[in-house]
Symmetry: C2
Subunit: 383 residues, 2 copies
């Protein structure tokens, strides 16, 4: 029997050591830590806001689950109007398809027989499951599954990571997928990750503008040479959303980080005018575990609680305003200059939300000071 | 019914997508990736070598499971002569105690009722389970469990992270634990993490020498003022092992990284004379997933497969000797200047083994080109 949370309706399985706190007064302050904390109010605002912005812009939203890796969050995005869910790994795809989510798009080209077999199994379970391909050999590999598979051609518009980089190559690959009796050409994908975090709108536009021109040229060539106008043109992120919306090339966007925000995105001016429309919703809560050096307390959050690829985590609760966090090994951090009680709690904005979430097993969902629910990070791991 | 692997005797539960490859020829080359790869020959050499070095030095070995987080590896360390297993988190302690491992020592002071209740439960299951304390309030918190608990006093010899920093404070805390009717004073702990990675033995000794003098002074004061000579003096790591052995203060050492080695430790000269006695045993295998830019192939290993706190991962297999890896986002890496086939495999030495292991779910245990077994990373997570 599946138990359900009375407050949020989510399924309740093994929810870790903090399960007993759900619904209790001041339970946010009683968490065993390090704990990923999701501010439900800010999260719900973000889900609703992006859905509204996409609707206003007349584009679909297929939010990227590489950010949250969570069935529960994907369900809420769909409930708010998302047309499907993007994902980056086979594990994410498997978790989302098996949970019954519609329109799952695996945005990474898949290589290797074991992963391909998993992908073929997912296509059997979900009719609107989609994968991408970025070279001719990949087409043959996908045909090996022997069943109708929805395929997008991945276009490299300047990131040089995955995708076909040249126009002729893109047209040739589109033609190849079109000609396949086993694959169904669903559209094209074009994602440029590195431009997302450029702080100022004008500079972001400068770096990204030429890339969008390349996408436009590919679409034009496909139209002229093949008479092909893709049903789906998918891509973009939280940073490029305003530009993508204006460019009018994409039929849908894959924004992911908007659900949580993080230190990196707090430093990005998302709109040319007006404040950022999204609120910081994700935190890591840590506890002071030693304060024998009274002006430099030691906490329990280090390299295992925060991804180290971005800026340092920002202290948001429990300290003076200008306190700065320092990592202090795998399991520890310190806060120089602060005088904190043993057992005191601090909360930090995640430096880069996606890989930080990947280190944790649970979202501790709070409203004010109450732990309202615990959700699983269902699809963590890199496989 | 528990299935067992015929080659290694380990338990077999859900072992992920590579399970079907176990025992097959050339299976190492067929892994779905990113995959943590453990070279069994090098690993077994390391386990045996550290056991022998400790025996020769007349000190016990309580290897630190914060490195491996694995029941199977802990069992092998015990089988090779370790007196017990150290661990850093409550989750690690729970996994190890519940698996029946002897002499589990939780090396971090525990704060907060939820974690303390778990600790009390573990003490009920294992008579030789031990925890540490570093302040007077901690003694009262541990007494709340209402049962005999083995406690070590944690001494800060210079790292300023946890532990009692001054001699008088250390003596007062030892006295307090001695006087407790509920706690059993098992000894003292002194660990200095930051000195472990100082590259040259002479410089390491210079930084660490004064710290060991402080430990000696604490032991002397405890002897003179309380007539107390601790049964256990535990601490030290892979980097400080030679110095600790010579100093004659420790009854046992908590070395952890020696089982795997990593880029950080490859850069440390462990012994004043002669080569490092340990072999690099741990790798992350990645696959080329896109090579449309032929001299800069894209792999599937990024911020989610390697901890970012240390140096960059070192390419050890599958490329030319001087190739240098670059991270390329959460799920990707690139290898500029290399021409690699789609699906080609590369293997990289982990930058910092402990937090890198924390990102993965399985050890893929290889001997030569055969995947011999898959072991769980049983106790990943920061809780």
């Amino acid at each position: 029997m599946t138990m359900r949370n009375k407050l949020t309706g989510s399924r309740r399985l093994d929810l870790g050591p903090n399960q007993g706190l759900i619904g209790k007064p001041k339970s946010r302050q009683a968490l065993a830590t390090p704990a990923l904390v999701l501010d439900l109010g800010a999260f719900e605002h973000n889900v609703k806001t992006m859905a509204r912005l996409c609707k206003q812009a007349g584009v679909g939203l297929r939010p990227h689950a590489k950010t949250h890796k969570s069935v529960e969050i994907a369900r809420r995005q769909i409930a708010a109007g998302a047309v499907g869910i993007s994902c980056a790994t086979v594990r994410e795809a498997a978790v989302l398809v098996e949970a019954g989510l519609p329109g799952v798009l695996l945005t990474t080209p898949i290589v290797g027989n074991i992963k391909l077999d998993i992908v073929f199994g997912l296509a059997k379970r979900s009719k609107d499951f989609m994968v991408v391909v970025d070279n001719l050999a990949g087409v043959a590999a996908l045909e090996r599954g022997g069943r109708k598979l929805n395929v997008l051609v991945d276009i490299d518009i300047g990131m040089t990571r995955t995708g076909v980089p040249d126009i002729a190559g893109a047209v040739a690959l589109i033609r190849k997928v079109q000609a396949s009796k086993l694959l169904k050409l669903a559209g094209v994908q074009a994602y440029s990750g590195m431009v997302q975090h450029i702080a100022l709108p004008a500079e972001r536009e400068k770096a990204y503008g030429g890339q969008l021109k390349h996408l436009q040229a590919v679409l034009q060539a496909a139209s002229e040479e093949l008479g092909y106008v893709p049903e789906l043109v998918t891509g973009g992120g939280t940073g490029s959303f305003e530009i993508d919306r204006r460019a009018g090339l994409f039929t849908e966007c894959q924004c992911g980080s908007y659900v949580f925000m993080d230190v990196e995105y707090e430093n990005v001016q998302l709109l040319s005018t007006g404040p950022n429309p999204f609120r910081t919703a994700l935190f890591v809560q840590c506890t002071v575990v030693s304060n024998n050096h009274p002006t430099s307390p030691t906490t329990d959050g280090g390299f295992k609680s925060f991804s180290m690829d971005g800026p340092v985590a920002r202290l948001a609760r429990g300290t003076s305003k200008d306190a700065v966090y320092q990592y202090f090994g795998d399991e520890f951090g310190k806060i120089p200059g602060e005088k904190l009680q043993l057992g005191a709690k601090v909360e930090l904005v995640t430096p880069h939300c996606d890989p930080t979430v990947n280190m944790h097993d649970f979202y501790h969902c709070v409203r004010g000071n109450v732990l309202e629910d615990i959700w699983h990070v269902d699809a963590r791991g890199s496989l």
